[in-house]
């Protein structure tokens, strides 16, 4: 469960960084198109991997609920961090 959560967090961070605005806020430089595509691809794959980690456990239905809840938390958390970075 913890592994899935960590992978999901990384996935959400990568997906958020694939957006020009947030990439610029984080690294103070423009986002190359190739990097954006790569970040999207890796982020998406990691998201699928985190879900696979969850459904391969003993209680897949129960853990899917956790996965969705954690996804919301992670998106909320990452948005909060980006709002702080954006202020700077």
């Amino acid at each position: 469960m913890l592994t899935s959560y960590c992978i999901q967090l990384v996935a959400v961070i990568l997906l958020s960084l694939s957006m020009l605005k947030h990439y610029r806020d984080a690294f103070a430089r423009p986002l190359p198109t190739k990097v954006a595509k790569l970040l999207k691809l890796i982020g998406g794959l990691l998201l699928i991997l985190s879900f696979y980690c969850v459904i391969s456990t003993e209680y897949p239905a129960l853990h899917s609920v956790y996965w969705l809840c954690f996804l919301s938390l992670n998106i909320g958390g990452v948005a909060f961090i980006h709002s702080k970075l954006g202020r700077k």
């Binding site: 605005k21 947030h22 609920v65 969705l68 809840c69 919301s72 909320g76 954006g86 202020r87």
Partner: protein
């Protein structure tokens, strides 16, 4: 809808709130030997109600420390049930103050205290509208996907718009499941026509067709000795349900009859379904055949209902769901405020806007204050008061009504700040109130490390602090100040300013 979601969110902690609101029953030692409790309980039931056709033992669990025995004088009539609460260590009977506890929020959440006046229909209509709003909201904020993960806090209006859109996206699955499963609960009320056409007794008969249950027991004319040692049965049960304290409840039907039946109910930890797993034995201690599997549509309905109630949730998941519920309440509240704000900016002020503004204040700020007052009433109303549970509810409703009246006379922004300040302060002071009413409860909770009780106190303080922070934020952004001349409330005003 805000009231439905807020009270529904509180219902995730229904047993915990009830636990705090019945301090006389709190601080029980946790006893993990379920077999000893069952054996002793049945012996006690044999003394208290030897002729009752049904005995029930509700065992204490991590969430619900109340240990209850019950017996029913008529097998078919649940109203003939008598309940007693006991202390698990010495089996002495305890009586708690009369209160609806967390159940009030649960019932309010789907009846709005209007059960006899179409409350459930109103909630159903609201849920349907919410489903429509959910998808229309996605369409309205479709451009938000370009600015995903963006929150602008500098401006109150922009901050509120961004957080509204972001929360709308992240709570999308949660929102959909809750609204849809909420409708499934009372499908028989909302769409009775099909079942009424096909079956003589409507949905009741349809339910009998599609649900599975244990075979009904019928009394014979002979009597047998009551089983007093459940060790064999409990061992059998533990083989199938190996987790600790897996038995939630035991029902002993026709205890003195050879056709008697003993049913064990499992705690809801490993299944999304709202239906409890059961194991039944006959009076010879033989395991009876398992209940037949239900049809797929019925199973799907039960899963949605299970997801709605989240009985399966561990403390971590329950807290996450609580935050999601709180986020959804915030989503609705911010939606209401934004809708009005945009119209107030564009159009000339008119009566409709003024009415909506007052209703917003009452519906959002007033409800929060009413909830805080309900908790305060639980500690302040005399324990010996007749119809005490109703009196607590009346305090809740009167507080809400007073806020409605105040909203007609006080400038909206001032009232917002005052309400947030009063609610925040009341919630922060609840543990102190609890301590002053009877300091033993809190001290014993600390001694027994009763995290259910202490957790409630801590949650009150944190919720109060969050409301005070929001109040400060609103006050700073709008420049609203509170000037209250009444000496009793001066400290609230001083803090808010």
């Amino acid at each position: 809808m805000f009231a439905i979601f807020t009270t529904g969110t509180l219902s995730y902690f229904n047993p915990e709130i009830s636990h705090w609101m019945k301090p006389e029953l709190a601080n029980q030692p946790i006893i993990n030997n379920q077999l000893a409790l069952i054996n002793r309980s049945v012996a006690l039931l044999q003394q208290k109600a030897p002729d009752a056709p049904r005995w029930q033992v509700s065992l204490p669990s991590a969430r619900q420390q109340h240990f209850r025995l019950a017996w029913q004088d008529d097998l078919e009539n649940r109203k003939s049930r008598t309940r007693i609460s006991l202390l698990a260590d010495d089996f002495s009977q305890v009586s708690a103050r009369e209160t609806d506890g967390g159940n009030f929020f649960r019932q309010f959440h789907y009846t709005l205290e209007l059960r006899e006046f179409g409350g459930r229909y109103l909630v159903g209509v609201a849920a349907m509208m919410m489903l429509v709003a959910l998808f229309s909201g996605i369409f309205t904020h479709r451009r938000f996907f370009k600015d995903f993960f963006t929150l602008r806090w500098k401006n109150l209006s922009k901050g509120l718009t961004d957080s509204h859109a972001l929360i709308g996206i992240i709570t999308l699955p949660f929102f959909f499941v809750l609204c849809f499963s909420g409708l499934l609960f009372y499908l028989s009320l909302y769409m009775p026509w099909s079942a009424n056409t096909q079956f003589e007794k409507g949905y009741q008969q349809l339910n009998q067709h599609v649900s599975t249950s244990l075979p009904k027991v019928s009394a014979s004319n002979t009597t047998v000795k009551v089983i007093t040692d459940f060790s064999y049965m409990v061992t059998q049960v533990k083989k199938q349900w190996p987790e600790q304290n897996s038995i939630a409840r035991l029902t002993y039907n026709l205890p003195t009859d050879p056709n008697g039946q003993i049913v064990f109910y499992r705690t809801k930890q490993f299944s999304l379904s709202g239906k409890r797993e059961v194991l039944s034995f006959n009076t010879k201690g033989e395991l009876m055949p398992a209940m037949a599997t239900e049809r797929l549509p019925r199973q799907i309905k039960r899963i949605f209902i299970g997801l709605h109630e989240a009985q399966f949730a561990t403390p971590l998941l329950r807290w996450i769901l609580f935050f999601m519920g709180a986020a959804c309440s915030f989503l609705i509240a911010s939606g209401l405020i934004l809708w009005l704000h945009k119209r107030q900016k564009k159009a000339k002020p008119h009566l409709g806007h003024a009415i909506v503004e007052r209703l917003n204040i009452t519906g959002i700020g007033g409800l929060l204050l009413a909830i805080a007052s309900y908790f305060c009433a639980n500690r302040l109303l005399p324990v010996t008061l007749g119809d005490r549970a109703d009196a607590e509810v009346i305090v809740f409703l009167i507080t809400w009504f007073i806020v409605l009246c105040l909203s007609l006379f006080i400038r909206p922004i001032k009232l917002w700040v005052a309400l947030l300040a009063m609610t925040g302060a009341s919630l922060c002071l609840l543990p102190f109130l609890d301590f002053f009413v009877n300091h033993h409860w809190l001290i014993q909770a600390i001694e027994h490390r009763n995290w259910l009780y202490l957790g409630a106190d801590i949650s009150f303080v944190i919720s109060g602090a969050v409301l005070l922070v929001i109040m400060q934020y609103v006050r700073k952004r709008t420049g609203a100040t509170i000037s209250i001349k009444k000496p009793v409330l001066q400290w609230v005003g001083r803090y808010a300013n």
